[in-house]
């Protein structure tokens, strides 16, 4: 994974989201969403929202939906552990929330602290009614984004694009 690779897939994610009408980009900074947020900061219609904890982004996106705006929550996998309480609002109220989760602790991870939540991401999100769209390779990227946007759009279900460490690589320590 080079910087230009990351620039390319970040632009792919951002462009598809803008084309689908996603304008509110809530986030906790991570390697996996840094370029996406830079693009949001530079875009006329996009609004980036820096959070203090990932669960805030769940509620921010639900609030956006209340007035017909599409939002996304961009976070590292460790942040998924902060979300279930507010996902009860999303699951109970059938709010279609969109997420981009950049993985740690799933493939080649060298930081043992990342494994507990990295390995729990699927179970946590599925338990709270969020459908998963995994990206293991460049070939997966466009169809996964397309599917997640459809699912959380007309599909009316919450969806998470999961950028795995097979795709984004493992951080060296």
């Amino acid at each position: 994974m080079t910087d230009s690779d990351r620039d390319e897939w970040s632009a792919q994610i951002f462009d598809q989201m803008i084309d689908a009408g996603v304008t509110l980009f809530s986030y906790i900074p991570d390697f996996g969403n840094a370029k996406i947020i830079e693009l949001a900061e530079a875009h006329n219609e996009a609004q980036p929202v820096l959070l203090t904890t990932e669960e805030e982004g769940v509620a921010v996106c639900a609030g956006a939906d209340l007035v017909g705006t599409r939002g996304v929550l961009c976070m590292q996998s460790s942040g998924v552990g902060n979300c279930p309480n507010f996902l009860s609002l999303v699951k109970g109220g059938n709010f279609p929330i969109l997420m981009v989760v950049s993985m740690r602790g799933d493939y080649g991870e060298q930081n043992p602290w990342q494994y507990p939540l990295g390995q729990a991401v699927d179970s946590l999100l599925e338990a709270m009614g969020v459908l998963l769209f995994k990206v293991d390779s460049q070939e997966d990227l466009e169809p996964a984004i397309t599917a997640a946007l459809a699912t959380s759009g007309k599909g009316g279900k919450s969806a998470a694009i999961i950028l795995t460490q097979r795709f984004i690589g493992a951080k060296a320590f």
Binding site: A59, V60, L66
Partner: protein, 194 residues
């Protein structure tokens, strides 16, 4: 510490004389009941009965996405304190159409009146200011409510008002507690208005 004297049942009608002017999100329990009575559970209101802590963040999402409308969060001290970081996010995002009203009774009224942190020294006015909010007001007696009503319409947004109330009963209004129905009610009414 000052002793609260405001009866919360007399508060919102004085503080928000024109509730139809707002899109309103509330936290759970007493704040939800009080706001439902204020609006007759109107279609400009989304009340929670769970997801404790989510009200400020949800209201922020509404405010940033409906910049032409005034947006109000009404919540309690316990609910607010479950997501105090949300105040920092509001200050950073700085929406120009957003107000937060915290009805601070100092107890967890819904679960039996157990003392909360604001009864043990936590000062939400200082926390709001320390989070970066600059339009901050504390209301401790009935005589200040009219001034607070002007503050909501006249001061620079985002705004934060904490109202110290007695730990007496809330409104008894029976609101719709189906979150899916409430989402659609709010959403459809808003989209029909724009």
């Amino acid at each position: 510490m000052s002793v609260a004297t405001i009866d919360r049942r007399d508060l919102l009608a004085k503080l928000i004389p024109n509730p139809d002017d707002y899109l309103i999100v509330t936290g759970l329990a007493g704040a939800a009941k009080d706001a439902a009575e204020l609006t007759d559970d109107g279609d400009n209101l989304f009340t929670m009965a769970g997801a404790m802590g989510a009200a400020v963040s949800m209201g922020l999402g509404v405010a940033m996405s409906a910049p032409d409308r005034q947006v109000l969060v009404i919540t309690g001290d316990g609910e607010l304190m479950m997501n105090m970081g949300g105040l920092a996010t509001v200050a950073s995002a700085a929406p120009k159409n957003f107000s937060i009203i915290c009805i601070d009774n100092g107890v967890h009224g819904e679960t039996g009146g157990q003392l909360g942190h604001t009864s043990r020294g936590v000062d939400l006015e200082m926390i709001a200011k320390g989070s970066g909010l600059t339009s901050v007001m504390k209301v401790t007696n009935d005589d200040e409510i009219a001034e607070a009503a002007k503050f909501i319409t006249g001061s620079a947004a985002p705004r934060f008002i904490v109202v110290k109330v007695t730990d007496g009963p809330t409104a008894t209004y029976k609101r719709n507690m189906d979150p899916t129905a409430c989402r659609l009610r709010f959403r459809n009414a808003y989209l029909a208005s724009v």
